[in-house]
Every structure is written in C-alpha cells, then in structure tokens.
C-alpha cells in the first residue's frame, strides 16, 4: 500500500510541475493529491482514562473547483497513527488510531464587492470515522465513531504578492450541524446483535467537530499549484462515553489542473 501511494503521489507531483496548460487563476478545477505528517491526541473514556498521542501519516485524494461564484471540493482522506499514553511507556500503552473521511463541499461566494477577499459560504455532506485499536484491552479493543451528516463550511481566500511571487493564502472551516453517529456501548463493545441500535442523530451539543485548514498556494506557471496546508481537526463526541480526538497535520498538496468546461453563467 505504502509504495503504491508513494508512486501515485510522485506521478501527480511530477505531472503538476510538468503540465503546460496555463489557465485563468480564478476559475480552475484541480485533481488533488496530498500527503503529510500528522500528530494525533486521542482520549476515549470508554477504553482508557489516559490520553494517547503520536505521529502518523495522512493521505488525501480529491478535486477542487474555484470560480468567482463557487467553491466546490471533494476530499477523500485517511490517516494512521501509532499513539502512546504518557504513563507507563513500554508497557501496554501503545494503541493505533485510524481515521478516514469523505466530504463534498459546495460554497457560494458572498460579499462579491469585497476586493480584498473572496469569501465563500456553504455546506458539505460528509462521512468520517475515527477509530482506535487499544491492544492492551481485553475484548473491548475497538474504539470508534462514525459520523455521517451535513456541515456548515466556509472558505476564505486572498491573493498575495510575496518575495516577488504570487501566492494565495486561504483558510477553510467546516463544522457539522446535523450528524447520524454511533459509538460503542457503555462497556466499549460493538453491539453485535443490532449495530444500528447504537446510532443516533446528534448535533453540536453531542458532537463538536472542527476541521480547520490554513493553506498557502504557489501557483505555477503551467496553471497547476503546490500547496502547503496546516490542518487542525478537533472532535469531541459525547454520544456514549466521551471521545476527544485532536489532530494537527502538515500537508503538501499537489493540484493538477483539469480542463474546465465553461458554462454560460460562469464568470
């Protein structure tokens, strides 16, 4: 898996640098590949009172479309971390954390008269999961949540000139508002007889999830881009027990331009 992902990322990265199609900056569609380092802090009271944390890897695949009116993004990502508690290191304190997510975001530009920023506001549909494998436990080894729902999203971007180059600084924030979610039961077990019984519809009071990204783009002369992302993702799930997961990621993204079909109402 790892060699395959590396290969795909390298191909896309090289394609980004070598492609020749120069397009207009404000109306573009990209295929994106992302790789990076992530640091996760995880605490699941159903499994341990201890906070576990550790480094891992994060990968994204997706697409992104930006025009003067719309910001649309599809993001499919996953991460794996080896996490360890701060006490009793070396004995029964290593766990593994896996996360994945899939999201489609639509955001419409507001305040178009503002010349300094392009600000897009909208929503997204998403499915994500944060899982932990607590290998020191007996039977109740598998921690998880599986939120699926809709989120409020915003994307703010600004062009900059810096060190004699054009850059684009942007930030993206997403907060779920209505979520269909499940957690293990009181004892930390999956409900084997009726898994769906553990599901419930929750909102921010039971599931606070903030996915915040800061990114800086270097547009290349061929129309593609290289992007550095700092992602901060915090989840506080109180559906059963309490799960808190904080993730900080440093990511490098390669945006490979896809030919854009112009529509009549596009500007």
């Amino acid at each position: 898996m790892k060699p395959f992902c590396t290969f795909v990322f390298l191909i896309c990265f090289l394609a980004t640098l070598s492609a020749q199609n120069v397009a207009e900056f404000a109306r573009q569609k990209f295929f994106t590949t992302t790789i990076g380092l992530t640091w996760q802090t995880r605490k699941d009271n159903l499994f341990s009172p201890l906070t576990f944390s550790g480094y891992g890897a994060e990968l994204h695949l997706g697409s992104e479309r930006i025009s003067e009116k719309w910001f649309k993004q599809f993001d499919f990502w996953g991460s794996i971390n080896e996490i360890q508690s701060r006490v009793n290191k070396g004995y029964n304190s290593v766990a593994y954390a896996f996360r994945y997510g899939i999201a489609q975001t639509w955001a419409k530009r507001i305040l178009p008269e503002n010349a300094h920023f392009r600000w897009y506001v909208g929503g997204s549909v998403f499915h994500t999961s944060s899982m932990g494998y607590y290998q020191n436990n007996v039977n109740n080894l598998f921690s998880y949540n599986v939120p699926t729902g809709i989120a409020a999203s915003t994307f703010l971007t600004r062009d900059m000139r810096f060190f004699k180059r054009n850059w684009q600084l942007s930030t993206q924030l997403s907060i779920p508002v209505l979520v269909y979610n499940a957690r293990p039961n009181y004892l930390g077990f999956v409900n084997e007889n009726n898994f769906t019984k553990d599901f419930g519809i929750v909102t921010i009071n039971k599931l606070l999830h903030i996915d915040w990204r800061w990114q800086i783009d270097l547009p290349l002369s061929n129309g593609n881009r290289l992007r550095a992302i700092y992602r901060w993702d915090y989840m506080d799930d109180k559906l059963s027990g309490r799960l808190q997961v904080g993730t900080q990621s440093l990511l490098i993204q390669s945006l490979f331009q896809i030919p854009y079909k112009k529509k009549k109402n596009d500007q």
């Binding site: 499994f47 508690s85 436990n137 930390g188 900080q248």
Partner: protein, 346 residues
C-alpha cells in the same frame, strides 16, 4: 533588504497576519481542549479502580459483596508514598474479594488473580493417564479436535482442550461424519479454560436440528448497581450437512471456565445430553477492560449470563452425574469420569 520587504508585506496584510496569529494560537490549544488525565498517584489509582468496578461490575448483588465496605477498608490505607508493588497488592486484595476469574489486574511485573474456582477442588483430569491408557496411539488430530473410537468403535471420543483453538467447519464436519455409526459420543472439555464464543457456535451447531436458545445475557449499561440491559437470548442455528443427534456425554471439571461453561450450559438444553464429572468453574460474565491512571490494565466481568430457565452460571454449571477421579483409581490408571461416561452409553 529582505527584512524591509518582509515588513512591508506584514504591514500590508495586517488583518491577515492578525487573523493567522490568532487562529494559530487557538489551534494550538489542544491540551486545553482535551480533558486532563486523572492524577497518577497511588491514592488516585486505587480510587479510580474502586469507582470503575463500582460502576461496571455486575455481580455485587449475586455474590453478596459489599463493595462500599471493601473500599472503606482499603482506600484509607493507601499512601502516596507507596511503591508500585504495594499498590498492586492492595488492588489485588480488593479484586480477590470478587472471587472472579475474569477480574484481574495487569501490571508490568505481575497480574493478579483469584483461582479459587478450581484450586479448592479435585483436579479430575490427568492428561498423562488419558493419553497412555485411553487415547494410546490410535487417535486423530482433526484441527483442534482430538478424536478416536472407544469401546470397540461403539463410542466416539472428542477432546477439545481450549475454546481459543479455532474449530474449522471442515474439522467439525469430518469428526461428526466419522462418528455417525456410534451409539453415542463423549465430548471431553475438562480443563478447557475457555476462549472464543464463535467456537461454541461451531461445535453446538452440529448437534442440533433446529434453533437452540443457548443462554440469555444482560450487560451493564449504566453506572447504577442495577443498570442492566434487557436480557437477550443467544441463539445458535444448526449447520453442516451431517448432524449428530444421538446421546452425548460431556466431561467436565472445575477448570472448565468461561466459554466452556457457556458451552456446557448450552448443550444441557438438549434432551440427549448429559454432563459427567464436576461442576464447571463458571465465569459467565463477558470480560471487558480499562486502564488505571498509571497505565495498568483492569479486566472485569461486565455481563450476567443465565440459562434459559434462569440459572446464573457465574459460579458454574452443575453436572448431571457427579463423578470425581478417586486417588486409588488414578493410581490404577483409571479415568473414573471417562469410565462413568462409557458405562452411561452402554
């Protein structure tokens, strides 16, 4: 020169910079958002342990244990100057009062246990004697199942020593097919300490021709002493092309624990099944676990299991025919429990 240029840029984009600095400072406050770990002191560890068991252990009432009293005896004795070995011993002593093989403390240097469920009883199983005088050389290992014909091919004998050893569909089908011509079979699960419930399904499914309500189970679902889920029936479906519906005798001793006790309880629902030997050791609660603030792991029973007619198997399942291996029989090379089973199948 570069510095001047940088300063100009920073001033030009002051709102952006302020926003960035503010955001990054907010974003770095993960430690403030994630609730702090409990204090890792001997007192807090013992208190955390007591509270966890108080909220999650299901058998206080059944075993008539006053857990408040256990806490009142031990918690005041804890001092924060105590070393790990002493703290371990205190928690071990508290756990010991539960008389539960599924409730243990795992530290880096030891794990606590209460094995009274078999230590105070006759062993009733001698593998040396069984192999030399009964199995001899004429037996098969079919996956996890040791098997051979006994009593001039009139009886099939199956030895299953651990429910942690997975039984394949192929293996159980082969064994059941092999013994189709016998008058009855003996399933020897003595000293089988348990394992996976999935293996109970595999084994039992070949001895039934319709759905079997094997047992019913309720698990703790809240911190109150009587917070339990409603009892759910555990149903086993018949499987396999060949079934064995003739007389079956199961051999048991006190070392039959956990999944083995469940297997025996499930099979006793069948009219053609008898159990010969001693009570099983029990262990009806599914073990779950958590950690203490110092990283030690606590395992505890988390559910109650009853037979369909309401018998709690935490302290074991009684045999249909009580039989021990006497010292004199053992000295003479006789497995009295196996002999009794053979005579029942005459």
């Amino acid at each position: 020169m570069i510095n001047n240029h940088l300063m100009k840029c920073l001033l030009k984009f002051t709102p952006v910079v302020v926003f960035c600095v503010f955001s990054l400072s907010v974003l770095s406050c993960e430690k403030a958002l994630v609730t702090a770990d409990p204090k890792n002191t001997p007192t807090e560890n013992v208190k955390f342990f007591w509270k966890t068991m108080n909220e999650k252990y299901p058998f206080f009432e059944f075993k008539k244990i006053n857990w408040d009293s256990v806490g009142n005896v031990w918690i005041p004795r804890v001092r924060d100057t105590m070393n790990d070995a002493v703290v371990f011993r205190i928690i071990d002593s508290m756990l010991y009062t539960l008389r539960d093989g599924h409730s243990n403390l795992y530290g880096a240097f030891n794990f606590s246990r209460n094995w009274e469920w078999y230590l105070n009883y006759p062993d009733n199983f001698n593998s040396y004697l069984l192999e030399r005088n009964y199995l001899k050389n004429d037996y098969r290992f079919t996956g996890a199942l040791t098997n051979r014909f006994l009593d001039s091919n009139r009886v099939g004998y199956i030895r299953y020593s651990s429910f942690s050893s997975n039984i394949s569909d192929y293996a159980i089908d082969v064994v059941v097919s092999r013994f189709q011509t016998t008058k009855g079979i003996i399933i020897d699960v003595r000293s089988n300490g348990g394992g996976s419930i999935a293996n109970i399904d595999k084994l039992v499914s070949r001895f039934i021709d319709k759905k079997l309500v094997a047992w019913k189970e309720a698990e703790k679902n809240g911190s109150g002493k009587n917070d339990f889920s409603t009892f759910k029936e555990y149903v086993i479906e018949p499987k396999g092309d060949k079934k064995y519906l003739k007389p079956i005798i199961i051999l048991t001793n006190r070392r039959c624990y956990s999944a083995t006790s469940l297997f025996v309880a499930a099979m006793l629902n069948l009219p053609n099944v008898k159990v010969v030997g001693d009570w099983t050791g029990g262990g009806g609660g599914v073990p779950a676990s958590t950690q203490l603030p110092n990283g030690w792991t606590v395992r505890y029973s988390s559910s109650i299991t009853l037979t369909p007619n309401g018998f709690n198997i935490e302290h074991g399942t009684p045999p249909t025919i009580k039989q021990d291996i006497s010292k004199s029989d053992e000295a003479a090379g006789i497995d009295s429990i196996l002999e009794r089973a053979l005579s029942e199948l005459k």
